[in-house]
């Protein structure tokens, strides 16, 4: 294969970006597979991690199984799912690709306009493989108006999924440059326990099934299990579960509402 001058220039730039500036490979290539979705990425929006891909697929399998076994009425025919801190939109799009056709409506929100623009591009890019509706909105979940905004979009959410920033301030200083120098600090650095205020977004739904997770939150390891679990308990999710990832690290806390 012969490279033309333009390709050579691109390659030289790519190598220098990678070697001298620690640019993540995914930003250079420009996309990353996520389940059956292909997610375009550009700096500084968080690059989808395999851990996230793993639990999203596990979650969709779990929902599919329950939709098969549950009696009608126990699960909503059309689940309203909120993806908070959606970033590139990978979780929302991944869910919409994997879940049975027309069984869900996923809304992704993020504080960053860059992220929302990218997520919408990705929505466009994956239209052919999407089986459920997806939309993206810019919302600052820290603002007092957030709750109001979300209620405006949907009167009731059945499930909240999120990969919120969970790197602590001390850890942030120690991050490799390909993460720290390139990815949005707002996607990484946890802002106190406040982010857990997310759980208040949930409103009591009519779901009878207790074996159905209502909150699905990615975490950064074992140390974060207890605080997240506690916050869930405090908000009425009295049953919790922890999923490990393939590398055997505690990765997701799920909250169930048991009456």
């Amino acid at each position: 294969m012969r490279l033309g001058p333009v390709q050579w220039a691109w390659l030289r730039q790519a190598v220098s970006d990678r070697v001298d500036r620690h640019k993540p490979l995914q930003y250079i290539i420009g996309d990353q597979p996520f389940g059956n979705a292909k997610i375009g990425i550009r700096p500084p929006v968080l690059i989808p991690r395999w851990e996230t891909e793993e639990w999203v697929l596990r979650l969709t399998n779990m929902i599919k199984e329950q939709q098969d076994t549950c009696r009608t009425g126990q699960l909503p025919a059309h689940m309203k799912i909120l993806d908070a801190c959606t970033g590139s939109g990978c979780i929302a799009l991944g869910l919409a690709c994997e879940l049975p056709a027309n069984s869900a409506c996923v809304t992704g929100v993020d504080i960053s306009p860059d992220a929302i623009a990218l997520a919408r591009d990705n929505l466009e890019r994956n239209t052919h493989s999407l089986k459920n509706t997806v939309n993206f909105h810019r919302v600052d979940l820290q603002s007092p108006k957030a709750l109001y905004d979300l209620r405006e979009m949907e009167t009731q959410w059945h499930m909240l999924v999120s990969n919120p920033p969970y790197v602590t301030a001390a850890e942030y200083e120690q991050l490799e440059p390909d993460v720290r120098d390139w990815e949005d600090v707002r996607a990484l650095l946890a802002r106190l326990a406040k982010d857990l205020g997310l759980s208040k977004v949930h409103s009591d739904g009519p779901l009878a099934a207790t074996n159905f997770p209502r909150l699905v939150i990615e975490i950064g390891g074992t140390k974060q299990v207890e605080p997240v679990r506690q916050a869930m308990h405090d908000n009425g999710f009295n049953l919790t579960e922890v999923w490990k990832d393939m590398a055997d690290t505690d990765r997701v806390v799920l909250g169930y509402a048991k009456k």
């Binding site: 993540p24 490979l25 995914q26 990353q32 597979p33 996520f34 389940g35 968080l46 690059i47 991690r49 395999w50 851990e51 996230t52 891909e53 793993e54 697929l57 990969n163 920033p165 969970y166 790197v167 850890e171 991050l175 490799e176 390909d178 993460v179 990815e183 996607a187 990484l188 990615e218 975490i219 950064g220 390891g221 990832d245 393939m246 590398a247 690290t249 990765r251």
Partner: protein
């Protein structure tokens, strides 16, 4: 099925209908064969006739009739044999370079091209599961070949393939002998093999540390160990770890399926002395001799002096046909 069926109950009727339809693929060529024989008798009479031009015409037709009869008989033999259920499945084709260093891996690449081209000609789907290569040199390749009856055709390819030629890497014009091993496994369907999650150890490379948002992993390699059997499968073909895991699981499933199948096979055929090996890698099955433009299959002692067209996939079919005939005859002899 003529006659009175009113006395049969529904189940009996269903069973008989199935039996009836199962015999269809034998009956149909058999009827054709009878017709051909009748035709042959008529032609024979014409050949005995006085008319010169009629006689010549009849002789021509007799030739084609005999060819059709031969084809028909092969078909019947094939139809009479019990079907190995795996034969109708797709296949996992594994090619590895054997002894002979660089030349062996070049030959490995040649074999890969041959099979790919052949698969194209047959209209099969060719899907590379994993490949270790350096330019034209292929160390190892695993390919999923999908289509109808793929395994039944490719199953004879298992074994050690030997090449004799002056390698491109040779400067003094000496002929080298190198080998590549080919293993063809039936592509398992999920039904036959059950793999318990608890029996698997899945290693993702460089998974130490915190993971998640803390690091940006670009290494997506996955290694799966099936602990009860000790089978280890690795895959790093895809950019997504999840996709690599799926592919690795597929390969693992195929290997376990083959293991089970071979176990059954050897139990069932323990007493048989089969001419065609069961893909046992210790035996050399075919030689590709470039100087003589010859491809010899040692199992059936059959040579084709047309190496170029074998290597580009166009006449590989001839070899496979011969192997199939021998295999079928062998099976029949042991029925």
């Amino acid at each position: 099925m003529s006659g009175d069926v009113s006395g049969l109950d529904r189940e009996e009727l269903a069973r008989l209908s199935k039996e009836f339809s199962d015999t269809g693929h034998v009956v149909e060529p058999y009827t054709r064969l009878l017709n051909l024989y009748a035709e042959l008798v008529e032609l024979q009479q014409m050949i005995n006739s006085e008319d010169e031009s009629l006689r010549r015409m009849a002789q021509e037709e007799r030739k084609t009739a005999l060819e059709s009869i031969a084809a028909c008989e092969h078909e019947i033999v094939g139809a009479l044999l019990p079907k190995d259920s795996a034969e109708s499945a797709g296949a996992i084709l594994e090619i590895r370079s054997g002894t002979g260093g660089d030349e062996a891996s070049l030959f490995c690449g040649d074999l890969l091209n041959m099979y790919e081209r052949y698969a194209q000609l047959r209209g099969w789907k060719w899907n590379i599961m994993s490949m270790t290569k350096d330019g034209e040199r292929i160390k190892e390749a695993v390919i999923k070949v999908s289509g109808r009856g793929v395994f039944g055709v490719l199953m004879f390819e298992s074994g050690v393939h030997r090449v004799q030629r002056v390698p491109a890497t040779e400067t003094q014009g000496r002929t080298h002998t190198s080998t590549a091993t080919v293993a063809v496994l039936p592509q398992a369907t999920n039904v036959h093999i059950e793999i318990k999650d608890s029996d698997l150890r899945i290693d993702v490379f460089r998974a130490s540390g915190k993971g998640g948002q803390h690091v940006n992993t670009t290494d997506s390699a996955v290694r799966i160990t099936h602990m009860p059997t000790g089978i280890v499968v690795e895959n790093q073909q895809e950019r997504s770890q999840l996709q690599n895991r799926e592919k690795a699981l597929q390969i693992l499933r195929a290997r376990m399926y083959e293991r089970e199948r071979q176990k059954l096979d050897s139990e069932r055929r323990a007493s048989r002395n089969k001419l065609i090996g069961s893909g046992d890698r210790s035996e050399k099955c075919r030689t590709y001799n470039y100087a003589q433009s010859r491809v010899t299959d040692h199992r059936i002692n059959f040579s084709l002096y047309d190496i170029e067209n074998v290597m580009n996939g166009t006449t590989l079919q001839n070899l496979i046909d011969q192997l199939r005939i021998q295999h079928d005859l062998d099976e029949l002899a042991h029925m």
